[in-house]
Symmetry: C2
Amino acid sequence: MKLCLIGYGNVGYGFVRVLLRHGLWLRERFGFAPKIVAVHDIRRGTVLAPEGLDLEALAAAWVENRDLSELGKSGAGLDAFAVIQECGADAVLELTPTDLRTGEPAAGHIRLALTAKKHVVTTNKGPVALFGKELLSLAKENGVQFRFEGTVMAGTPLFSLVDFALAAPVRRVRGILNGTTNFILTQMETGKSYAEALAEAQRLGYAETDPTADVEGFDALAKIVILANMVLGGDLHPSDVPCQGITKLPSSEVQRAPKEGFRWKLVVEARRTQDEVEAKVGPERLPLSDPLAQVGGVLNALSLELDPLGAVTIVGPGAGPEVTGHAVLSDLLAIHRGLR
Amino acid sequence: MKLCLIGYGNVGYGFVRVLLRHGLWLRERFGFAPKIVAVHDIRRGTVLAPEGLDLEALAAAWVENRDLSELGKSGAGLDAFAVIQECGADAVLELTPTDLRTGEPAAGHIRLALTAKKHVVTTNKGPVALFGKELLSLAKENGVQFRFEGTVMAGTPLFSLVDFALAAPVRRVRGILNGTTNFILTQMETGKSYAEALAEAQRLGYAETDPTADVEGFDALAKIVILANMVLGGDLHPSDVPCQGITKLPSSEVQRAPKEGFRWKLVVEARRTQDEVEAKVGPERLPLSDPLAQVGGVLNALSLELDPLGAVTIVGPGAGPEVTGHAVLSDLLAIHRGLR
């Protein structure tokens, strides 16, 4: 399988590292030996390599912050669209930064790649939250796959679980899908103020300099819209979903709850009712007996509810370059194996 | 897909009920419309129905405890082996009671079916714990599938998760796989003696009249051997694995632990070392911060450890006729869809 990476930031680098470590196992076990034939990054430049790039060299170029054109045939002057069209890849990895408002430029890259009959794997929440069903249809029309395991819970398998392991429809999902706010709330329980907990999260790299997308619930919102539409068959736009973050939650309330047998969590939920799908994002005061109340720090968790299983809960890491890189790799492996 | 059921007890009935409820969805979504063309049960008799049995009638016969031969062409006089050979099914469901010592008669049924190039789905731990790798090889030689999702954690997807959602090898598994003992320990924490907690479990149908297989750890042992061999690639026999149950655990110790920040659990573990696979079963005093310490009542949980994800934990029901029936259905659906 020939791959084209659009975007070579943390996730792209994480993907290359995971492929370096598990490439031999994947080849022996599944006959899966992907080659990276093109990489385009708006800051790091562009390289075309029809024979496949050396992965060690590609990883070193990231660490040393070298221009990618040094690794093979330079693609200087080509934009992402031209690279997708000319790279000769079977699959395009859309790994550019997320824009939750427009989904661009990722959505455009994905549309072009699918129309050109290339499989697409993305970790970018924007296009899936805004145009997920349209992109799935476009993939189907063109006889290729569109997969997005890394958009929710990073590398913790979720869509693959739903796609390949269940024999009944999911009725409701409920979980904690933003590690940053979960870390902040866990810190606040120990007596820190919101500002102190946020500063600690920023110091550890869990929160960005501008933490708005996490603390106002927008990241969790994008994820629950993806689940509502792609797992429950809804047709929601993010603006349809009530969304509240954690910034208005008094520290005193977060600190008092555990003494009363409760814990505050930023909870997402989506459910299918008689004829529609509803979703919401907001802080909830959960009894300690709720499995979600036990999910601490940056961990994520999601309960899937379906007949006859009741609730099945999966708990795992929700962020991290290599973890998200694993999601990309598992999507590519599914495509290679013809799982669909 | 034409199915033959060998064994029509609780799990067989649970399977039929789940198929009744979700059959329409499965047909619309996956074009999957299995027909049951033969059922053999040592107590309930035998029926052959090349055109497929009416599922409502089959369920009613179970409830009313009627002889199966009333539902179609009688197979009186045919044993399980003859039924497997003559039923014309594409897939055999081996759902007879478990014998953890010999794996029979299930192992014989499975060998015959695979040799006759029929797919096999089983929920029977005995043959998988004792002969799992041999049976997988036999399936491969004959170009058919051998699947066993229901043997561990009932319908909570586990083998499908490993088979279809991971892109790196699992290094260690660790979990709580026996709901009966977990229920008893949870009850003991509230002040009950072992005998009182066991009686309560028996009253609720969680423990059998002879609870030996659960409380001495033999059920958990069979499950960890299945995981060690089928997920981690080991070659263990149950007699290779240190196994201790909960009968020697003093109630006072179980009751005191939570006050000290711990909880006693019957933990199973298997891990791959440099060149071998090791496993064990026994009670452990877990800190409350361990995710497994939070798994109460009859729930089961398993953490899968792999690079780069660290631990991914799945929590769900570990027993129940319909839940186990869902496992059978999900295995059949995987076969129908050509997932392998």
